[in-house]
């Protein structure tokens, strides 16, 4: 990985293209599913989290679940093999089925 060294005049951190607070879904996706995992003294099993709906739980749980099952399509470039109808959606469906999670993708089923 190239370490491009730059002089940062202003980092200007803040959220959202148009200001306003970040979407909760974006925050949870990052804070609960991304970032270095260090098992401290108190372990959190994220699969315990019910959250708002089963769907939200699925979003949060999916990455770890999938990793457990050796499915890691999101880590490569999924688009190289996602042409045609059964691309990402199809793979997600299979992932969800494999994870034993209920299926429903907002009426998108064909």
């Amino acid at each position: 990985m190239s370490s491009r060294d730059i002089a940062t005049s202003s980092r200007g951190l803040g959220h959202g293209g148009g200001g306003g607070p970040a979407q909760l879904a974006d925050v949870l996706e990052r804070v609960l599913d991304k970032g270095i995992v260090i098992a401290g003294d108190i372990r959190i099993n994220l699969l315990d989290i019910e959250l708002l709906t089963v769907k939200l739980r699925l979003l949060i749980a999916s990455a770890d679940k999938a990793r457990e099952m050796g499915i890691d399509w999101w880590e490569g470039d999924p688009f190289l093999s996602s042409r045609g109808h059964d691309g990402i959606e199809g793979r997600l469906r299979r992932l969800e089925e494999a994870a034993g999670l209920p299926l429903d993708d907002g009426g998108k089923k064909r």
Partner: protein, 262 residues
């Protein structure tokens, strides 16, 4: 003497290089911050009560939507406050150690990986890039104008059905190509890029479908990506396609793999 002292623990948000520890603010998002240093890296932490963050209470609190939202946002806000003046490697939510010494031990165990992650994110921030599509508008934009002339005869009905199927297939192909093109074009401006699963409608609350949910690791001055997105958005406006840039975020998506579950 009889007052019950609440037991406490250290909740760590992430790490900075020890050399930058002076840049860590003393307070952020309503929390007093402590810096726990171990060699080349230093954790940014808060003292929390085990009444709230102990194993049992935490399990319950994680299921409390408001509690979770408040603390997830605080976690993020602290990291952003630190990131304003130092390079920071974010931890996942809920990295809790009983004592500062326990936390130091964890840092020492992973010193190599943490230093490598700090090097990777140095001078960079994370942006989110999303692509949304209004599927009805996209189909209309792709449909040839003549398709309106379906007659009431059986043959006309079949033709209309076939046309509708073609349009749906065209829309899918269009989206697949579009997502790849957008991803490649924005990723070209990034030091690293990943694609995450698009968020479901139940979560976004939007009528449009999210078809790309990418994260980019970019130089702190992210204008190249924003300019690229503006150009693409302009071109795609007539197709019911919307592009969105979120962030800057702490580099959550680009520190993984530096550590495995211990």
């Amino acid at each position: 003497m009889s007052a019950v002292a609440t037991e406490t623990a250290f909740y760590a948000y992430g790490v900075v290089a020890s050399g930058q520890r002076a840049a860590v603010p003393t307070r952020a998002a309503g929390a007093a911050l402590e810096v726990v240093e171990a060699g080349p890296v230093a954790a940014v932490a808060s003292v929390v009560s085990l009444d709230e963050f102990g194993e049992e209470p935490l399990r319950e609190n994680l299921n409390d939507r408001d509690w979770l939202e408040r603390h997830a946002r605080a976690h993020e806000d602290v990291l952003l406050a630190v990131a304003a003046s130092a390079d920071v490697v974010p931890f996942r939510f809920g990295t809790i150690s009983r004592t500062a010494d326990d936390l130091r031990a964890l840092l020492r165990d992973r010193e190599h990986a943490l230093v490598a992650a700090l090097e990777r994110v140095r001078g960079k921030i994370e942006l989110g890039v999303k692509v949304w599509v209004d599927e009805a508008r996209l189909r209309r934009a792709l449909a040839p104008p003549a398709a309106e002339a379906a007659s009431a005869t059986g043959r006309g009905y079949l033709e209309a059905r076939r046309a509708a199927q073609r349009e749906a297939a065209d829309a899918e192909t269009f989206c697949a190509d579009l997502v790849r093109e957008v991803y490649e074009r924005v990723a070209a401006h990034a030091a690293a890029a990943v694609v995450n699963r698009p968020q479901p409608r139940e979560l976004t609350g939007r009528a449009e479908r999210m078809i790309l949910n990418a994260a980019l690791l970019v130089e702190s001055d992210a204008t190249a990506v924003r300019d690229e997105v503006d150009v693409l958005a302009e071109r795609l406006r007539g197709f019911g396609v919307t592009l969105e840039v979120t962030g800057p975020w702490p580099a959550h998506n680009f520190v993984d793999g530096a550590d495995d579950e211990a």
